[in-house]
Every structure is written in structure tokens, then in C-alpha cells.
Symmetry: C2
């Protein structure tokens, strides 16, 4: 290489990108999980950048699950992401004994999101039961779910029409059906206000949206839309049922 050409071709690296790298290495070597970082104003001053630039780096690190920020409290070093099993080896309905979800309540409605209606193949006006469930892992809420079940597919409509009792009733009736199979999609989304509150995050926080379609008797009998915290969760899909391995 010629004299002075050392840095040619290198587009100037954005400050926030460089900052992120520096911070990331500092987190590895100089901080331990749970430790609290200096506040944003101090950090920005220390690195000689505007607070907005420093925040851009912190946002990336939070997205990657390295940091956790809480208003009024501070920025702390996040623990490694927790592995959350999404694909139970057993092919069972939601609500089968031993799954990791706790039903909260349920309602009947004839208004479901268009995307869900398309999967359920329901017409406008069809009554659908919506069961809300939460999932907790190691003491922290990790996911919120809305489970949609068309009234048609349930053998006998439960007496209750709302509340926790109705949630249990809908789940119980599902178990009586034969499950032919299911498939799933995973995509990135941002938390709706309601889910954000349950997940202890601000609205718009990044989430992994898992959509599961349950098939019974040749039709889509239920659709579950599960919203996982993207910062703290690593979804695991296991086929080797003997060992946890990647789930650790």
C-alpha cells in the first residue's frame, strides 16, 4: 500500500456506531450483570458527544439485550437473554395441562383484526372468543397472548361469557377437539399499548410476534398471537427432545 492510503475506502464510521462498539467491549470487561451505568448526561460528556448520539448507541445495545433502561431509575447491564420454548414437543392445544401460560380472562366479540379473521376464515359478524393469557419466566413477564377461537368450533358454548371463568371454559372445550396440526410464523413488531403495559415496557418496544394456527377437522380452529419481549427473550424451537441444550 502506498503512503497515506491506509484509511482509503473507509467511509467515516458514524459516532454512535463506534460508541456502541466501545460500550459493548466495556460491558464485557468492566461491568457485571445488574450493575448500573453512569447516567446519560455524564456518559455523553465523557465521550464528548451530544446526549442524543449517546442515546442512539444505548438504544442499539438495549435492542440487542445488553442493556436495560428504566425511566426514573437508570441504565443497567442486562442478564443474558432467557431461552423460551415456543415449540412444545407435544402437539397440544393451548391450555393443555403443563403449558407455561396462565389465562387471564376472555371475552366474546364479533370484531377481530383483519389479519386474524383471514386466518380463521371467519366472516364479519361471526362470534369469536378471545382469551388473554400471560407467560412468565423466572419471575418476569415475557409474553402476552390473544387466543382467538371461533364460537362455531366449540362443541358447547360455555355458560359464562366473560372473565377468567370463561377463559378456562374455552380452553377446556378446546381440549375435547382433535388437533390435526399447527404452523407458526415469527416476525418483528412493536408492542401495542396494552401489551406493553403487561410486559413492563413502553409502547412501541420491539417484540417478537409469534402467530400460531391450530388446525382441527380440516379448518383453522384457533389462532394465537403471542407477543414476546424481544430484548429479553430468545425463542427456542426444539426437535431433539432429549436435551435442553440451546435453551440454556
Amino acid at each position: 500500500m502506498g503512503v497515506g492510503t491506509t484509511q482509503l475506502e473507509t467511509a467515516p464510521e458514524p459516532k454512535y456506531w463506534h460508541l456502541k462498539t466501545v460500550l459493548s467491549e466495556a460491558l464485557d470487561s468492566e461491568f457485571s450483570v445488574g450493575e448500573i451505568l453512569p447516567n446519560e448526561r455524564d456518559l455523553a460528556a465523557r465521550f464528548g458527544v451530544a446526549r442524543a448520539t449517546l442515546r442512539q448507541a444505548l438504544e442499539q445495545l438495549e435492542l440487542e439485550g445488553r442493556l436495560q433502561r428504566r425511566r426514573g431509575v437508570g441504565t443497567t447491564v442486562a442478564p443474558p437473554r432467557v431461552g423460551v420454548a415456543v415449540d412444545p414437543a407435544r402437539h397440544t392445544w393451548p391450555g393443555a395441562t403443563g403449558d407455561d401460560w396462565q389465562p387471564v380472562d376472555a371475552v366474546r366479540t364479533d370484531r377481530v383484526p383483519a389479519a386474524v379473521a383471514r386466518l380463521l376464515e371467519t366472516a364479519p359478524g361471526d362470534v369469536v372468543h378471545v382469551v388473554r393469557r400471560n407467560r412468565v419466566s423466572v419471575g418476569r413477564p415475557v409474553a402476552a397472548e390473544l387466543l382467538y377461537v371461533p364460537s362455531e368450533v366449540l362443541p358447547g358454548d360455555a355458560e359464562s361469557t366473560t372473565g377468567p371463568a370463561h377463559a378456562h371454559a374455552v380452553l377446556a372445550e378446546l381440549q375435547t377437539l382433535e388437533l390435526d396440526g399447527h404452523d407458526r410464523t415469527v416476525e418483528l413488531g412493536s408492542a401495542r399499548a396494552e401489551d406493553a403495559r403487561l410486559l413492563d415496557r413502553l409502547p412501541g418496544a420491539p417484540v417478537l410476534v409469534v402467530t400460531t394456527r391450530y388446525v382441527s377437522g380440516g379448518r383453522t380452529a384457533a389462532v394465537a398471537v403471542s407477543t414476546y419481549r424481544a430484548d429479553t427473550c430468545r425463542l427456542t424451537f426444539g426437535e431433539s427432545e432429549t436435551e435442553p441444550l440451546l435453551a440454556g
Copy 2:
């Protein structure tokens, strides 16, 4: 409720959040896929907010796959996310005939990321083949992958040690082994500089990182780290092999 209490308990909604809602509805009703939006300065002026605030709303919409922004060009309405099958019904090694990946090249190295070394159970200094592969869907690059295969597990070390020929050689040797099973994790990440370039995105762009562990003969024989564009992709995991359904 008493007079004047109508709005109590409502924390003021952030402007960017409200903006996002308004824009989202406008996208549904007044714009079609591929259409180009007014530029950021005009949009900000139209809504009476600073450009930074407008950008915060646009960023969210891009994260959700509603918009696509390109420097020097403009902001366009994104097509619906493309469904990408991650879980082939067939349990096969990467590189089996008919998979959707095209090998690019491969190298031998004794330096692999710590997380990968842990999965492979390799010691520092062990030689590992690293195969780079790309995945294209409907003409667009959707994923980049690094496939790590310890030299030990390959029956005969190929003659070539680098380049496209070596990539094919490593993949071919994998097919001769018996595959016991595999498991996967999915998590949110940000694109490294190299992957970002391949995916036609800026560094740090949100990606879905799929880590697949292939087991053969009681040990982890290979690990694939696949990086999917989170803005344009919806990962599909199918078990009902008869129909595409959710993949559409």
C-alpha cells in the same frame, strides 16, 4: 364521572406515537405499495413537528415493515412481508439439493465467536470451516448465513481450503453424515457491517438471528447462524406439510 374528568388518567400520548397512528391509517387508505411519500422535511412541516419527531414515527413504521427508506431516494410504501420457510419439513443438512441457499465461499479458521464455540464444543485452536451462504426470495436478498463446521466432523478434508469450491466441498461432505436432529433459536439482533451490506441495509438494521444446531453422532456437528432482514421477512415454521397457508 364528574364534570371535566373526561380525560383524567390519560398520560399525554407522545407526538411520535400519535403520528405513527395517523400515518399508519393514511398508508392503509391513501397509498399503494411502492408509492413514494413526501420527503421528511415536508411531512414534518405538514404535521407541525420537528423532523426528528417525524423520523421517530417513520422508524417505527419501517420496523414494522410498513415503510422502506433509502438514502438519496426517498420513503416508499413497503409490500407485505414475505413469508420465508425456516423449518423445512425434511430433516436435512444445509446444502441438501433444493434448499434455498446459495453458497458464496468458505474459509478455514481457528477463530470463531465465543457463542459458536460453546455450541460446537470446540477448544480454542480447533480448525473450523466457515461457509458463507446467501438466501434470495422473490429477487431480493433476505438472509445471510455463516455455517460453522469443525474440521473433525468431516470424513475427509477437502483439497481446497478456501473459495467457492471449498464451500461446495464442505457442504457435500456434510451430506455423507447421518443427521440425528437439530434445534433452533430465534432472537432479535442488529446487522453487522458485512451482513448489512449483503442485505442492502445500513449497519445496525434490525435482523432476526436464527441459530441452528445440527446434531450427528451424539455431538454438535455444525452450527448455522442465519441473519434475516426483520423489516421484510416473516419466518414460517410449518408442520402441516400439505399446505402453504401461513406462508402466503
